[in-house]
Amino acid sequence: MITLTVNGVSHQVDATPDTPLLYALRNDLALNGAKFGCGLGQCGACTVLVDDKPAFSCLLPIAALAERKVRTIESLGTREKPGALPAAFEAEQAAQCGYCIAGMIMRAQALLERNIRPTEAELRAHMAPNLCRCGTHMRILRAVRRAATAMGGGVRNDAEDAL
């Protein structure tokens, strides 16, 4: 048995140490927000936060986790009371098929927790590892900007930054 701390709750998981965190989340803990995309760390659909940093959970064996704190999309509010990012994604209609969105939101969450006023260039560089096959990246960026504003910050454009 391996102990995993997910969304503030400690769980005992009966899985081999090389099991990817994504499988433990979905198969053992019924946390189905994070998705299996490519399984190669190339698309970001499986992105979760580990100790506040974004990680590809498909390539993160549970043996690597020990005491580290995992957070998934399920920690960002409920259907009735969504957090700032899920609410902004809904307001901007940023999902088309929706498969990448949990990963997108978790990656954006890591950025906004660290820096509520990123520049547009920082936002784009930070989000670059996550892909959307439907091509809704522009809506996704709009949603992150909206969430940053809702959280009391905002995304600065780069010209503003140069001043």
Binding site: D18, P20, L40, P54, L59, A121
Partner: protein, 424 residues
């Protein structure tokens, strides 16, 4: 009285030394071009573009997120920080008022148009070997780029290195001006390859160790050296590669950043290969021929390459074995989809066979990422996935699994060093 004479004598002596130093260090300013908008033969401009890629000029002369060739990138040296200059044809902040003559002098002698001596962070000790037609083509290419107004930040150098005339002494010792004489015992292609490697491509800038004064040690040419947190491996008889580098293998590696028989280019070499991808194919082939000859008899590549010793390594490092199985095997295990496409075994790459674990750790921490919009070998960064202890454990595991060499003695220290250098 004797004291005064001595004092006067030393004052005169000092003045004489200073005068002599001034005489060798003083260089005239070349007149500024009145009309910078000269026209150039498009064929020569095109040739210059390929040479600029070969020399990776933009690699240093572009700041992070900045316009190409507009300079401003900091270069850390043991003597302080030098900022690269703007080599676009902007008349005020770039080289727009530089005549061809001034440009040639900068490349051959390390002197700016205004007569200032340039720091050898600009590799004029290599460019001095470039041919006249190559320098002319580069000049034509740079002078036809869009002019960008951008002034490089002021260098931050330790005393006394901010005093440029000191460079006259460096040049006397280490600058050997002019093209290299061809070796009649070698092919035309080999000689062209050597002229490019020693000249515009300035390969020794990273792969040759430097002395206390920052000059490349010609007695240790291509013996391997440290650059920007990476170890650039030897490219001579001391090459640690366990499979021979044929000219054909090297050509593929230099041109695409990936050799099916060795490994992917990582660290600063990634940027070099993306430049070479756009250089002249014949020039890159010539460079490959030259380096293949330097490494031809390297003892490390004479035997069969080491086998994958998965069982031995798994038993010795059970925790790392689980981490490898969950994080790395999906691409690197024999039979994985990536391997089925003909990618090289981890056993064939150079990093695991080097004397230092540094490059292996750097690749795990940083991954491989071609810049936005460019294709190339890709690997996710694992710096945030693993603790320092896990990184050290996996590094030791890889060495045990894919090489026949003894364990590295200092892996945790090397991990700490890589972490300190920052992974971004």
């Amino acid at each position: 009285m004797i004291k005064r004479t001595l004092l006067l004598g030393s004052a005169i002596g000092l003045a004489a030394v200073l005068l002599a130093a001034f005489a060798v260090s003083w260089q005239p300013a070349w007149p500024a071009l009145a009309n910078p908008s000269a026209t150039f033969d498009p064929a020569i401009v095109a040739r210059g573009e390929k040479l600029a890629h070969l020399g990776n000029c933009a690699g240093c002369h572009t700041a992070q997120g900045g316009r190409p060739f507009a300079g401003g990138r900091p270069l850390e040296t043991p003597f302080g920080t030098v900022f690269t200059t703007n080599i676009t044809p902007d008349p005020e902040t770039g080289i727009g008022r530089w005549s061809r003559k001034a440009f040639v002098r900068a490349l051959r002698e390390g002197v700016a148009r205004n007569g200032d001596l340039l720091y050898p962070a600009f590799p004029y000790d290599h460019f001095t070997h470039a041919s006249d037609p190559d320098i002319d083509a580069l000049y034509a290419f740079l002078m036809t780029r869009p002019a960008v107004q951008a002034r490089a930040p002021v260098n931050r150098l330790k005393e006394p290195f901010g005093f440029r005339p000191l460079l006259a002494g460096w040049n006397l010792l280490f600058l050997h001006k002019g093209p290299l004489a061809d070796d009649p015992g070698q092919s035309t292609e080999w000689n062209r390859g050597r002229a490019l490697a020693e000249g515009l491509a300035h390969c020794g800038g990273c792969h040759t160790p430097r002395n206390e004064l920052g000059a490349e040690r010609s007695d240790h040419a291509y013996d391997g050296a440290w650059i920007e947190g990476w170890y650039a491996p030897p490219l001579n008889i001391n090459s640690p590669a366990v499979r021979p580098w044929t000219a054909e293998d090297l050509f593929a590696y230099l041109r695409t950043g990936l050799s099916a028989t060795h490994a992917a280019a990582a660290g600063p070499m990634g940027s070099v290969t993306r430049g070479l991808a756009q250089a002249s194919e014949d020039d890159v082939r010539a460079i490959a021929v030259y380096f293949a000859s330097l490494m031809a008899h390297a003892p490390a590549a004479q035997g069969p390459p080491p086998a994958d010793k998965g069982n031995v390594a798994d038993a010795a490092h059970p925790e790392a074995a689980a981490l490898f199985a969950g994080a790395c095997a999906i691409c690197h295990a024999a039979g994985a989809p990536m391997m089925q496409e003909g990618r090289p075994s981890l056993a064939w790459g150079t990093p695991l066979h080097e004397d230092t674990p540094n490059d292996t750790i750097q690749i795990i921490v940083q991954g491989l990422a071609p810049p936005a919009g460019r294709s190339g070998p890709t690997m996710p960064a694992y710096g945030d996935s693993f603790s320092d202890r896990q990184l050290a454990d996996i590094t030791a595991y890889l060495r045990a699994r894919y090489t026949d060499k003894p364990p590295w003695p200092d892996v945790p220290e090397a991990v700490a060093q890589v972490r300190k250098g920052g992974s971004e």
